[in-house]
């Protein structure tokens, strides 16, 4: 069942770009304009500009963390709420296919990333695995921005998309870390024997556990369950204030997203100087890989029955790279990997690319594969 879509996928990619050159480019540009000239990406741009002119905007770390917590809780809670409605209406019949597709994508993307980085880009085992861990996972903020985008185009995504974000968070990191640890075992074994310190060996298990019980997963999955249960057991009136607080179309979510993207712009801007250090291959990787992963997400999403908005958002989250859960896990398990490479690629290339150009492109891809 899986080989066929994969084959079709490979067949589609060149066609995709051919078609894009001709007809849809105009629509993409228009879509870009509508996407870019809204407060969320503009706040990101403000952050970028601020770092370039050495301006004084400083978002306290605690505000950044507070907003991250709110966004994750919000995504989970509303996800659980919508899932409860979906479940009450359709059981799991509409959900299991997209969930499976997401799991498959979560397992494939770290491997495609690793292969491209190690064999095409000639990066070391540790660096390749480290970067693959970032691209195998996902970025909740990219989800939030993509979701805002499709809502603004009047094509809201299927209600259970937050569930898919949760599914996509872990497997990619886990697979890439295990891969990296296994492949670099010899190197590390020799070094460990020289220094007589077997301590580091044991940190893979620890790090995997930490990823799976990390803040992102715990908050999203936890609030998903809470949202699900309280939707089933509470009356609408009692539920309303919680819904108003967490809802993703509401002022709090959108406003918090503005401040968060301002900070992301500041952080990404500080990384822009590292672009020269990482070299042209990684820059290209940070743009082309998301397009390929994004198309895979859109395509499998369509096969699994997602609507136009759903395909777009799935494309965006598959295309996105983690910059919260992955870095410390990689740092602990693959200390030889240079964190500048992975964080610059994820944060200073792929994240802004997705926010500005990727999401409208996945939207057009989704239309093009026939999602409605």
């Amino acid at each position: 069942m899986l080989t066929i879509p994969c084959a079709t996928l490979c067949w589609h990619i060149p066609a995709l770009f051919a078609v894009f050159n001709a007809e849809q480019l105009g629509r993409i540009v228009e879509s870009l304009e509508r996407n870019l000239l809204t407060p969320i990406p503009l706040c990101f741009v403000l952050g970028l500009i601020c770092t370039q002119i050495h301006g004084g905007i400083k978002i306290p770390k605690e505000l950044y963390l507070a907003i991250a917590i709110f966004l994750l809780m919000s995504i989970g809670f509303i996800g659980g709420h919508e899932l409860a409605h979906e479940y009450q209406e359709h059981g799991i019949s509409t959900i299991w296919k997209p969930a499976l597709a997401t799991l498959v994508l979560g397992c494939l993307t770290p491997i495609t990333s690793y292969v491209v980085l190690h064999y095409l880009g000639r990066l070391s085992i540790a660096d390749s695995a480290g970067i693959a861990a970032h691209y195998g996972s996902t970025s909740a903020v990219t989800y939030a921005v993509a979701n805002s985008f499709v809502e603004q185009t009047q094509h809201p995504a299927n209600s259970f998309l937050p569930t898919l974000v949760t599914i996509l968070e872990c497997p990619g990191i886990a697979i890439a870390l295990v891969l990296g640890a296994a492949l670099s075992a010899r190197e590390r074994a020799t070094k460990a024997s020289a220094s007589g310190a077997p301590v580091r060996e044991s940190k893979l298990g620890e790090a995997l556990y930490e990823v799976m019980t990390g803040q992102s997963i715990m908050l999203m999955a936890g609030l998903l369950v809470i949202g699900f249960i309280s939707t089933l057991f509470m009356d609408t009136k009692g539920f309303q204030p919680f819904y108003d607080f967490f809802q993703s179309k509401g002022m709090l979510f959108r406003g918090a997203l503005c401040i968060f993207l301002l900070e992301m712009g500041l952080v990404a801007g500080e990384r822009l100087g590292d672009l020269r250090k990482v070299g042209p291959f990684l820059v290209a990787f940070g743009i082309v890989m998301p397009l390929i992963h994004g198309f895979a997400g859109v395509y499998l999403g369509h096969l699994a029955g997602l609507n136009l908005g759903g395909c777009t958002v799935l494309g965006a989250i598959v295309a996105s790279a983690s910059y919260i859960a992955a870095p410390p896990a990689v740092r602990l398990t693959l200390p030889e990997a240079n964190p500048t490479l992975s964080i610059t690629a994820a944060l200073a290339i792929t994240f802004p690319f997705n926010i500005a150009f990727g999401i409208p492109i996945y939207f057009e891809m989704a239309k093009w594969v026939g999602a409605t």
Binding site: I324, R331, P335, E336
Partner: protein, 103 residues
Amino acid sequence: MQLYPLKLVTVVGETVIMDDIAKEGQQLGASGYTLSEVVGQGSRSARNVIVGASKTMKCEFVVPMDLAEKILKHVSYTYFEHYACIAWLSDVQVVRGEAYVAK
């Protein structure tokens, strides 16, 4: 005032390893530790910065000389190669210092 001569071991390094260093110091025999958040720059730190969390921490142990050596050896073998960190030793006179000598 009876004071007891001991050593103060100070390790400054990337946040991601400092909890482990604190715990490993206790496992080696330190009676306690004191951690604080700092911000720093060094020869490698620019390369190793991680987003979204305090970048650097300082960990201090008040310990007898032999234990100080053990902790420094462990830290230097385990972390110096791949992680941004620095470690040093200084002389201190500790109040009721007997309590901080491993049993």
